[in-house]
């Protein structure tokens, strides 16, 4: 596993931050946001040093989202101890999700086009902008020659990528798939665009309190950036090379609301079915779920409807299961959200600590489950699920299980 978020670079520093209840949200520094309704975000800054993973020459030819992807992939492969290039490259694949890809590159490209004309369009703009170069670049670096694709599912991209990778491995099509998500859209156009549909928090005067999932005073999500990558491997392959196995993926559910461009289905039916299908595939009774890493964006609708879906799945049991939204600390990494949250879910199983939902201070009667408010809780977890729901109605859920 490997990751980069506003909480830090690397799984270790992320886990320390997320179990200590730190917020990574601050004033936007990547551009002058003074004229914007939203002026806060979860930017990657401290400790992000791509030079260890990316040669200098390539650095300036890579969009920020590609840099995040390569650094997270680098950590992931290093920690997995996988020999690269692999001896059997066509049995090794890569699936990386992203919501928007190299948006900052596109924005700069448009500026140059308007100021200097078409002759001066940056020559590397296309390779920096397209999403499939994220898995493509990782393939070049590590010599994975099997199935390689970019998944585009807005806020569910990361979870979808891991789910699709899980399918490829569980069906025996590939031995190893590196899967995850990356996003770097703290840009003027994106902050303005998400702001235009009133999706973002405007709590500019108190950034660390702005992402407050399930709290009555929540006022929208906080945009964030980063990447998360996981190495999925068939059990036989992992065992034969003596790999450290962190957890097992046992189920994946994917549905669509077929309802509205940005609003979730008000009944939560699509979300419910995604979770239920994942549980059915895992052949695990929902009563065994020990932790739910919620999508929990801190928007009015998502948190209400996700709560509804969980209640429908678990009935009275819903009040027993610890839930948390790590977005309260990381902000919303859009296409990378599901990937970093998958890592937090695996870590919860490995370490027996449930990260909190911070800033949960005011009770919302429609969000009345146990969201692990404000402080991490020690608890042995054998099965964890992670939810992601997207603009576009895409719902995705992964089920993780501990290995003994």
């Amino acid at each position: 596993m490997g990751m980069v978020t506003c909480l830090g670079s690397g799984v270790k520093s992320n886990w320390e931050a997320v179990t200590s209840g730190y917020s990574g949200i601050a004033k936007i520094s990547l551009f002058d946001a003074s004229g914007f309704a939203t002026q806060i975000a979860g930017e990657v800054s401290d400790g992000f040093d791509p030079k260890g993973y990316i040669p200098l020459k390539e650095l300036r030819r890579l969009d920020r989202c590609q840099q995040f992807a390569l650094v997270a992939a680098g950590e992931c492969i290093e920690h997995a101890g996988l020999e690269c290039p692999p001896a059997n490259p066509y049995r090794h694949g890569i699936i990386v999700g992203s919501g928007i890809g190299g948006l900052a590159t596109i924005e700069r490209g448009v500026e140059v086009l308007q100021q200097k004309g078409p002759r001066r369009a940056p020559p590397l703009m296309i390779t920096m902008a397209v999403i499939n170069l994220c898995p493509g670049l990782i393939a070049i670096r590590y010599g994975f020659k099997g199935h390689n694709t970019g998944v585009v599912n807005a806020c569910a991209s990361g979870t979808s990528a891991i789910g699709e990778a899980f399918r490829l491995v569980s069906e025996g099509r590939l031995d190893v798939v590196l899967a995850g998500g990356t996003e770097a859209v703290v840009t003027p156009l994106s902050v303005a665009g998400f702001g235009a549909v009133r999706a973002l928090s405007t709590r500019n005067d108190d950034p660390s309190k702005a992402s407050r999932p399930f709290d009555a005073e929540r006022d929208g999500f906080v945009l964030a950036e980063g990447a998360g990558m996981l190495l999925l491997e068939s059990f036989d392959h992992a065992r034969s090379r003596g790999a450290r196995i962190h957890a097992e993926i046992v189920g994946y559910g994917a549905t669509d609301d077929a309802f509205h461009m940005v609003m979730p289905d008000s009944t939560g039916d699509g979300a419910y079915w995604a979770i239920r299908l994942a549980m059915e595939e895992a052949a695990i009774d929902p009563s065994v779920i020990g932790y739910i890493n919620a999508h929990g964006t801190s928007t009015d609708l998502n948190d209400k409807i996700e709560t509804l879906a969980i209640k429908r799945l678990l009935g009275k049991d819903a009040y027993r299961v610890p839930i948390s939204s790590t977005k309260s600390m990381t902000g919303h990494l859009i296409g990378a959200a599901g990937a970093v949250e998958a890592i937090y879910s695996v870590m919860t199983i490995k370490e027996g600590i449930i990260p909190p939902t911070i800033n949960l201070e005011n009770h919302d009667p429609e969000c009345d489950l146990d969201y692990t408010p404000n402080k991490a809780v020690q608890k042995k977890v054998e099965v964890a699920i992670s939810n992601s729901f997207a603009f576009g109605g895409q719902n995705a859920c992964l089920v993780f299980k501990g290995v003994s």
Binding site: L56, K57, R119, R120
Partner: protein, 81 residues
Amino acid sequence: MDELEKRVVDLIAEVLVDVNKENIQLDSKIVEDLGAESLDIYDMIALLEDEFGMEITDEEVEKIQTVQDVADFIRAHQQAS
């Protein structure tokens, strides 16, 4: 090397960061000696055009082989305009 030639070398070094700047000589062939590949060339053209405020057509690019050729091309362009 004169001022212009030094600027050209700096610019090429900026693109080809793997190449040690001392190894970029006026008679170095950009592709054969310095190992530039197609993306490097496009990158260089864009930087040169920006730096020297001119246009280099694809036909002209094909005639350029060495660092000296680049400098000569720019000088000719500057004298013409």
